[in-house]
């Protein structure tokens, strides 16, 4: 191997090692309230959605290897920000927010934009069938109706 190639590999190796020193937060905050869903729907949400959209993330080995870990942590943080099935009580004071979150779930189910395509190769169990998506969409429809009723009752 030429000296130049050895130098390049050496520099890359050094950069790789230094990247591991960048601090990343891989925490699972406490669960305050799980979303209420029928057992079948809850099972689908857990295997398909919970890793990014809950406080019960199962961090795989590559979540500890930079730079892939940066993508994982970013996706989990974004996922939790947009919807978090472990802190459903935080939306409850504002029924219209709950309805908006439910409509977003319906939208990504119908558009098949979730789970993210690059998540599936390593997480085959997260692949949702048509029946899975239909079950979630039915649950969303019923939940929106329930929230509408709750909003009418709420002072």
């Amino acid at each position: 191997m030429t000296r130049r190639i050895r130098t390049i590999f050496g520099v890359c190796g050094l950069v790789f090692v230094l990247l591991q020193g960048v601090p990343m937060s891989r925490k699972n905050p406490p669960v305050s309230q799980e979303v209420a869903a029928p057992p079948q729907v809850e099972a689908i949400l857990r295997r398909g959605c919970y890793n990014c959209h809950s406080n019960q993330t199962r961090w795989p080995w590559y979540a500890y290897v930079a730079p892939v870990s940066w993508l994982v942590v970013r996706d989990v943080e974004r996922g939790r920000n947009h919807i978090n099935f472990s802190t459903w009580d935080k939306y409850a004071d504002d029924p219209e927010t709950v309805i908006r979150k439910l409509r977003n779930i319906d939208k990504v189910m119908q558009g098949r934009t979730m789970p993210l395509w690059y998540y599936l190769p390593e997480h085959a169990e997260a692949r949702l069938s048509d029946a899975d998506r239909a079950a979630i969409e039915d649950w969303v429809t019923q939940s929106i109706r329930a929230e509408d009723k709750r909003e009418q009752v709420q002072p």
Binding site: K90, Y91, D93, D94, E96, T97, R100
Partner: protein, 129 residues
């Protein structure tokens, strides 16, 4: 103005002790009126307007540890999405629409909000204190 023109000459004909009593009552009345007006102003629900592509006010102060009903009014021509990760709120506001966002008791601190449909819009801040 007319009242002042009537009061001043009248005051010259009143004895000093009575003058002091009248002035004390007047100051007390003005103070109580001011306090009442101030407390009424605090009862006004906080409001954020979306106008000319930005939120007004960009920074809003509210009372901490008190549930609040926040009004958001879209005075623009496009639909916006009032969203805050820290407040756990996400609401679509149509052009011309006014919505009420229920906020729970908030710990003292800063909470950011933004328009998720227009990321170029500067984000705003709600300060609970």
């Amino acid at each position: 103005m007319r009242i002042i023109l009537i009061i001043i000459p009248a005051m010259t004909r009143i004895t000093p002790p009575k003058k002091i009593a009248i002035l004390t009552l007047a100051v007390g009345f003005i103070t109580i009126s001011g306090l009442a007006a101030g407390s009424h102003a605090d009862d006004t629900p906080p409001q954020i307007n979306f106008t000319n592509g930005h939120f007004e006010p960009a920074s809003l102060k509210i009372a901490a540890n008190t549930p609040i009903k926040l009004t958001v009014k879209n005075q623009g021509n496009a639909t916006i999405e009032f969203e805050s990760f820290e407040l756990n709120r996400e609401r679509v506001v149509q052009p011309g629409q006014t919505i009420t966002v229920n906020l729970p008791k908030l710990d003292p601190g800063q909470y950011h909000f933004f328009d998720d449909f227009h990321h170029e819009v500067p984000q705003g801040t709600i300060t609970a204190q």
